[in-house]
Symmetry: C2
């Protein structure tokens, strides 16, 4: 019975991954400047040629990962597009080289249009370079990855001044869960298939895990996105903000960490607190789907999009539950995977033109019809499908 | 027949204004620090005590205006609350006095929490101070208003460096319609009931009007929010962005300007191009209500909230159509006023707890239940009701 479920889903995600990759390889490559168009309509038409650095880095990473790990995507054209994207980033991502600060958006030909005072552009740059190194063996990419990683670590753990955030007496000193999550993801990336790097960043991984766990608040009842430096709740909307999809994403980052650490108590803790609790409070019992934002005291969130159903919390939930099931064989986790996957496969994929819609309204109807935009590129959907395919394959082999 | 319509609406807006003012006077005053709580739940409970400078300035302005112009609000407690709000702004709004740059958000006790690199906090500061001067006769408030106005003019027309916007080679040099709109609104404010000020800012008013008219693009077919410095369309989503409620707000700012200039051709032009065209393309024929964002080429906007129905575009449309009707006696404009007002009065006011909901979904259902938030305070609703009441009174007197 479980085996049949696993086999059915393996086939569905495999087939869906093919359709998704076909969409991006067909419509997103900028053969003139390198890099990718990510503002694509439902049909794949480019409606804006700006290049968001997060999305450029993510697509390079995704292409290299598929090339490297999935036999049927071991295509020269995928690696070539990834290399062209990587070279575009090396040439243009930094705002004022040799300083490492990267832009948030570039023009099509690579001039900086906007800069964010955070670490995320740099993190996706690092992810891209490291996977490019692993796919090509070219040490230039590894050097790029490691040097940027060192800069990120310096900003996060030593001195954030270089990011340019203003110091204001009324601004609360806040730790956002996104930062250690992102860094833990990089620790995982750089240490993959590389023992030396794994050891180099082991202590950093431990720090990240502790920092993320700090966001479990109110006697372990809920995960808050923002907490004080000393790990206590901060007042107001900012302190009460919950993002269930983000907690679910954190759960599988942490679960991978716990697996590497061979720490069964941590696994159990994470599944309970970062997977099951956020899912149960974040699931819309009336319409199905995972809310985008919630308030820990049940006030109405101030984000206008709070009740929308976005593609990525559902992709992250699929990965989380399937990974949780792989580790525990708890059938409840497989049921939850199926619940989310059924909701997701019914509403997000566009059967006519390929890829997924990104933004549904509360009732699950498509609210924004484009396939790619400033925050949606070739990443969460194929990463989810690729990871689920790998997990399902391994489960079927072992069963 | 028209007279009966006008009389009915006069009664409705008058009664609604009473209910709205009652909500804010009951729940929003911070008697400890001065200023106002604006993050208020449906029932009036404070869910965050941050003080957004735009909303502080707007509420001071609104209170003084009601005190000064509407006999039944000539209450000492309204003026006292306005003065306490004004003093709070004088003490705390500037980030690093004597420099004039103001914060965007302050803590409850007035410490800066966020700064925007735009002129808007300073504009609402100026509006508040000028109306406070007119309501109290205290020249200290006038000095505050004029000095801040001079700073704004310097930033807008001479050198924006002090705002701190980064110079990036790929960032398009964009003129946003919001800037000349806001400055024209201040020109109107400072020149009201003051001939000397009216003459002082006459040339600036002309410049603002020209700058706003520059946003009429594509052979006069539509209004774009952002254009190049030389008045041409810019590529991409930014260039194609439309905000029909904002164009409607601009229409009545411009109409007041054309009235003062005794320029009938300009009046006709504005009603056609900034009122009727944006309304007809921005109205949702299926569900009613005015969309928040649109794309000039009918691409799906990238703003997640693009199809939501917000309170303020509807308030601004009510003012615009009623003012247009006052000036022209064109029954079509009265019909449009009634169309928008019926939609609005049916859905936005909360008959149980007072004030209006701010955010409906595409279908017109309440999507966010709070009455005040980071961008909704005591301003658009009472300004609309007060202005409509005045316009309806004058129309009834003249008929």
């Amino acid at each position: 019975m479980e085996r049949a479920t696993l086999a059915t889903w393996k086939e569905r995600v495999e087939h869906e991954l093919d359709r998704v990759v076909a969409f991006w390889t067909k419509y997103s490559h900028d053969s003139e400047h390198g890099g990718f168009f990510t503002c694509l309509t439902r049909e794949g038409q480019v409606y804006d040629d700006l290049k968001y650095v997060w999305l450029q880095g993510r697509q390079v990473w995704m292409y290299c990962r598929l090339y490297r790990k999935v036999q049927r995507f071991h295509w020269p054209e995928i690696l070539d597009a990834a290399k062209a994207g990587g070279e575009f980033l090396i040439r243009h991502a930094r705002v004022a080289p040799p300083a490492k600060k990267c832009a948030f958006v570039l023009t099509r030909d690579g001039r900086p249009a906007k800069v964010q005072r955070t670490i995320f552009s740099e993190c996706f740059y690092t992810m891209a370079m490291d996977e490019l190194w692993k796919a090509t063996g070219d040490p230039r990419y590894q050097r790029e990855a490691v040097e940027m990683m060192d800069q990120i670590i310096y900003w996060v753990r030593v001195d954030p001044t270089g990011l340019g955030q203003p110091q204001l007496s009324g601004a609360p000193k806040v730790d956002s869960m996104a930062v250690p999550m992102m860094v833990l993801n990089l620790v995982d990336q750089l240490g993959q298939d590389d023992d030396k790097m794994f050891r180099k960043y082991a202590q950093l991984g431990e720090w990240c895990s502790e920092q993320i766990l700090k966001h479990l608040q109110r006697d372990g009842q809920l995960v808050l996105e923002n907490v004080s430096k000393d790990g206590t709740e901060i007042p107001g909307c900012l302190g009460r903000q919950q993002n269930p999809g983000h907690a679910l994403e954190a759960s599988w980052f942490l679960l991978r960490y716990a697996i590497r650490q061979r720490n069964p108590e941590l696994k159990t803790h994470i599944i309970e607190k970062f997977m099951l609790q956020p899912f149960h409070s974040g699931w819309d019992n009336e319409n199905g789907g995972i809310f985008y934002f919630q308030d820990a005291d049940k006030f109405c969130p101030t984000q206008l999009e709070w009740d929308m159903k976005l593609w990525w919390p559902h992709s992250e939930a699929m990965i989380a539950f399937l990974m949780g099931y792989s580790e525990t064989k708890d059938p409840n986790l497989l049921n939850l995977f199926c619940q989310v996957a059924e909701y997701t496969f019914e509403r997000f994929p566009d059967m006519e033109h390929g890829e997924w819609y990104g933004y549904l309204n509360r009732e699950g109807k498509v609210a924004l019809s484009f396939k790619g935009g400033p925050f949606k590129g070739c990443f969460h959907v194929p990463r989810c499908l690729y990871m689920c395919e790998e997990l399902l394959k391994a489960l079927l082999l072992a069963s």
